[in-house]
Amino acid sequence: MQKIGVFVCHCGTNIAATVDVKAVAEALGREPSVAVSTDYPYMCSESGQNLIKDAIREHALDGVVICSCSPRMHENTFRKAAAQAGLNPYMVEIANIREQCSWIHKDKEEATEKAIILGRAAIAKVLLNAPLTAGESPVTKRALVIGGGIAGIQTALDIAEAGFPVDIVEKEPTIGGKMAQLDKTFPTLDCAACILTPKMVDCAQNENIRILSFSEVEAVSGFVGNFTVKIRRKARYVDETKCTGCGLCTEKCPVKKVPNEFNLGMDQRRAVYIPFAQAVPKVARIDPDWCNMLKNGKCGLCSKICTVGAIDYKQQDTILEEQYGAIVAATGYEPIKVDRYDEYAYTQSKDVITSLEFERLTNAAGPTSGTLLRPSDGRHPHTIVFIQCVGSRCTPEKGKTYCSKICCMYTAKHAMLTREKYPDTDVYVFYIDVRTPGKNFDEFYRRAAEEYGVHYIKGAVGKVAPRADGTLDVQGSDLLMNEQLHIRADLVVLAAAIEPSKTARPLATMLTASMDTNDFFTEAHPKLRPVESPTAGIFLSGACQGPKDIPETVSQASACAAKVIGLLAKDKLTGNPCVAHSDEWMCNGCSNCASVCPYGAITYEDRDFRMPDRTTKTRRVAIVNPAVCQGCGACTVACPSGAMDLYGFSNSQIMAEVDAICK
């Protein structure tokens, strides 16, 4: 006869106010095979744990049932306590009488009865528990960072600093991301390139960092500590090892009319180009959509003038396969397309621009060399209207439901810088709310209004109409004046909402990392585990997890690196022993389990079986890789022959629980 100990927690008044804990302990104490049953105000406290440990030793208990909060809270605490007293930690069962009982009931009598039933179910289960030992798996001490923006750069630098090798995979020909396109950064107004490019150079020079630019993740397999990743290195038709970045080819290429994506199409580049002066790696790329040589074999000028013979028109995509212990998603954001908001006339007038286009128009490396000029006629704008919340804070049908978080600050920055450089310009900002929480942020916004004379108007813009004289009629509401106003503007700037990169969803599928409805990566816990994905070994850095400005992105990127370093510093990882296993005598090789397994943990093998008539029969049977299995149990219900079972949550244990509840 097994001996079980039952420990009922009051959790202060959380449980005891609704459940008669003494009655529960008494009732469960009368169950057969229960050797000791007691209650205590806080079982998770040190004295509570000592109570359990002493009881295990004194009564030589075979199993323990704790009636307390959710196992997500303290299962580990109690398992460790049991292990310290010499009991296998998997001989502990939790009956959740807080979240699933006291918190959701009002009637004390009913709640007490339910707590007793939940306790009985846990006793029925623990009687069938078997001691389990967690397996170990090695850790590949290398990290992969997907995305080479400021988030990916910072995470990679911090991991490399700790001495671990890191690969950065960047889909564009250079790292730098969105920050490289910004002009100044709030709230200190330092130039984005001046603070970003040293970090880019650090990445290139750090011997622990390998930059895989113009590359994309193609497939991911494996599990925490042991990922295998296939990376497609896209053909750039320039040999990265030979190109010196001299830029001669980009000056001589005869194809001059290619829209320059770095300047958001506001000027042109050549068919062979280097994205921008400080690109890392500073290697040219030939755009096959425009190159005459690649399109019809007529040109070849760049290969003739290249002094190092780096041009290679025959270059093909290659696949690199690499092992990693941890993977960081740092895929960043994109501004949304504003075409659909036809009231703002973005598609009708060149002088209606997005804020990112405004950044390029004020940047020294931009299409106007930093002089703010109207895209339509190249004249100085004298009246500028900024419109906030374009596509943010909407119903899902109208746009994004969330606040994009960065727009209030960058609009204040644009307005302030415009007034400083061009004091003869009238600047209006239409706002719904000005949201500037952050260190020195509200002071920054107030400075724009108070010192720089930016006109903040509480209201929205209903219509932007291009006029015959080339100006724009901005019809908006001023809610504080309770009037509708018309502003004749030269330039309208839309603070477009930001959304996760389109590459994030397919990547999340490869990583089996979860996402929210907006395609932002979900964190393991919104408060306590903000830089980890619920999928072990996957970490989140920057705006791929939610809208973030640069200071917040860099903080999160470093936090993410700390988590990665914590993982890579381990030599071995302790697994979860509650994994599936297949009874090969019962398995009929139907593949149902493999098709439902979300982790790819099940494979098939041909096994020889000695039959009763002394013949040997070869049968196809399922094999579970315990290192990959997460113990979700999908296979156990999919298996038609009942061959699949889960350690710690076996079919017989669950039936015993159901029986105990229905008794």
Binding site: E343, C389, R393, C394, T395, E397, K398, G399, I432, K458, G459, A460, V461, G462, K463, Q475, G476, S477, D478, L479, N482, Q484
Partner: protein, 127 residues
């Protein structure tokens, strides 16, 4: 606050006044803003506060062209024009169902009637 009025207006209009985030887009869009004592955003706010009687007494309810520009543009799906319509309907109901029947319309048509009003009438009675 007069909850009866508010609840009835909300029920009649089917509009979600509590979804309003006070951006003023409805009033920014309204083509007949200048003719109104109370503007679209005020209708939404005042109904939410239960101030329906003041709206019912205002000629603003007849200034709404029911062009639905505010409904189309509202980022929160509040549908201000439907709120105004419901206030108007409340007045009509209190007067004892003395509104036009579709068959009566052709006789009352006037050459000076703005086209928008015709469209409005069709939209209202085409159910």
């Amino acid at each position: 606050m007069n909850h009866d009025f508010k609840d009835r207006i909300v029920r009649m209009s089917g509009a979600a006044v509590e979804k309003c985030m006070r951006c003023g887009k409805c009033s920014a869009t309204c083509p007949n803003y200048g003719e109104m004592e109370y503007h679209p955003h005020q209708f939404v706010y005042m109904v939410e506060r239960g101030e329906v009687e003041r709206l019912m007494a205002s000629p603003s309810i007849y200034a709404c062209l029911t062009c639905f520009a505010c409904v189309e543009r509202c980022p929160r799906g509040v549908e201000p024009a439907k709120v105004i319509e419901a206030v108007r309907l409340e007045v009509i109901r209190q007067k004892g169902q003395n509104y036009l029947k579709p068959d009566d319309i052709p006789a009352t048509l006037d050459d000076d009637l703005p086209q928008q009003a015709l469209v409005t009438a069709l939209r209202k009675f085409a159910k």
